[in-house]
């Protein structure tokens, strides 16, 4: 799960980077950037955080 979270964060970065090379439209690049940020945030705050919360000190 932790690895999946980190991979999602990296994937979030790759989305706009690929977008930079495949399109020159600012609207498309903007959309891909926002999508990338959403994916990266989901990876960090959703997946990775959940993995750490699984064995949180207050749950034991």
């Amino acid at each position: 799960m932790k690895l999946a979270g980190i991979l999602l964060a990296v994937a979030g970065w790759l989305i706009p980077m690929v977008g930079l090379t495949v399109t020159s439209s600012n609207a498309a690049r903007l959309t891909l950037c926002l999508l990338g940020i959403a994916v990266a945030l989901f990876g960090i705050l959703g997946v990775l955080n959940k993995a750490h919360q699984k064995h949180a000190i207050w749950k034991v």
């Binding site: 994937a11 979030g12 926002l34 940020i37 960090i44 990775l48 750490h52 000190i57 207050w58």
Partner: protein, 547 residues
Amino acid sequence: MRFWQPRSLRCCLAAFVLLLCGLPAWAQSQSTQTNGAQAAPAPATISLDTPLKVSGPSPDDLTAGDPSGTKTGSANDVVASDPKKGVTLTDLVNQVGQNRIGINFTWTLVCGFLVMFMQAGFAIVETGLCRAKNANHTMMMNFMVYGFGLFAYWVCGFAIQMGSAAGTAMLGGASPLNGEFAIHLLGHDWGLIGTRGFFLGGATYDVGVMVLFLFQMVFMDTALTIVTGSVAERWKYAAFCVSSIVLGAFTYPLFAHWAWGGGWLAKLGANFGLGAGYADFAGSGVVHSVGAMTALAGALIIGPRIGKYNRDGSANAIPGHDIVIVLTGCFILAFGWFGFNPGSTLGASGALRISTVAVDTMLAGCTGSFGAVLYMWIKYGKPDASMSGNGLLAGLVAITAPSGYVNTRDACIIGIIAGLLVCLSVEFVDRVLRIDDPVGAISVHGACGLFGVVSVGLFADGTNTVKGLFYGDPGQLVAQLIGVVTLLGVIFPITYGVNLLIDIIIGQRVSAEDELEGLDIPEMGALCYPEFVLKHQPVPSGAAAAD
């Protein structure tokens, strides 16, 4: 008698006025004709090496003193390269150039000294927001992070960040910094790291490079000290030492090179037509967000303090022990920010926008605290002191990136949004994500830092090379968002991986017994307040499992 009739008088007066108005015009036209009739004088040829016949006050004049200040600083003070010959035009021109760079050196160094003093502000803000039993430990982390960071940055951090910063005209060029490792991909060069300036040796033993080093070093140290707040009261000191050194030596300089050292983010404009490329005037992204990424990684890995959350996941407030030093620290930080933002011009001569930058900084900090106070007052009925301080810092963090590019109205808007954002973010991090951040560093520096980066792409008004979406350039916003996603998708994974490795090798968290006792004695060997009687804190259920 008829001549003095009123009608005749008016005619005479009108004729007189016309004569007066016409006379200068006639004289001017005659003068022009005269000048035009003369041959243009040949331009005087002045040799650059001809001694100038100028002299200042005599020694006798100066011996009598200069109470009015009109005699001090004159032609006598221009240094001649050949004293026998006297001052030449070449000497004069060189003196002007050296004065310009001298002014810029002085400005940048003094601003760097102000930023260095921010370490004291961060130290007491964080210590005040922690419990008394951990005060020595928290202060010691903030104290030693300065030394660890400085050393790591001198060894390799500066070279990685600024190793290709040659061409910094404000500081005389910094020409020895001329090496970069870049990869050629998709038809463009992607600058990854600088390669000149390790140990400040070789040709980088240069006055301009030293100014740049000092100024950039204190910025780096600001990023490092952000981390100590979010993992305070439970971070093992040995792990803190290693983590800080890696952050100062590699992680921070990496992103700083991409943004400020001429790396690939800075060239998004030239390579992909995205406005002026990633623009971060004083470091909402480079300094604050990089620090916050590490703070978030550390808080995730180390976990919350014992007693912060109940078994049902609800959060308990753990108040700090001294709100006086918290708010004093906020004032120190606000003062230091005058070095942080206006100093980022790297000079005063030829960079008069420093005044706008300083006013933007004041206003955003002010409206940031307004936003936070309003939010807390409306929602909880009281203007919370620690959140007021965090609101001030949130406004300052958010204006750090756009301070060089926005007008005062937009600075106020950025500040007030940041003040509201920090309150919402603290609640979200605390209650929804259940990430324990004793000082709110992830919200202040992370959420508001990223907002600051985005706000450049929205509010930059185009008066200083960068134009945002609201002023007609959507490409700039794309460049800023790429900076944000790089922080989340590259810098966070790197810093998380580093801290996970430290956790595996050294262990990041202190034992539950040490945490409950307070870290002053177990980790530091001495109490911060030995004459205080600390209240006994009962061990909550589940504490044993923390070890």
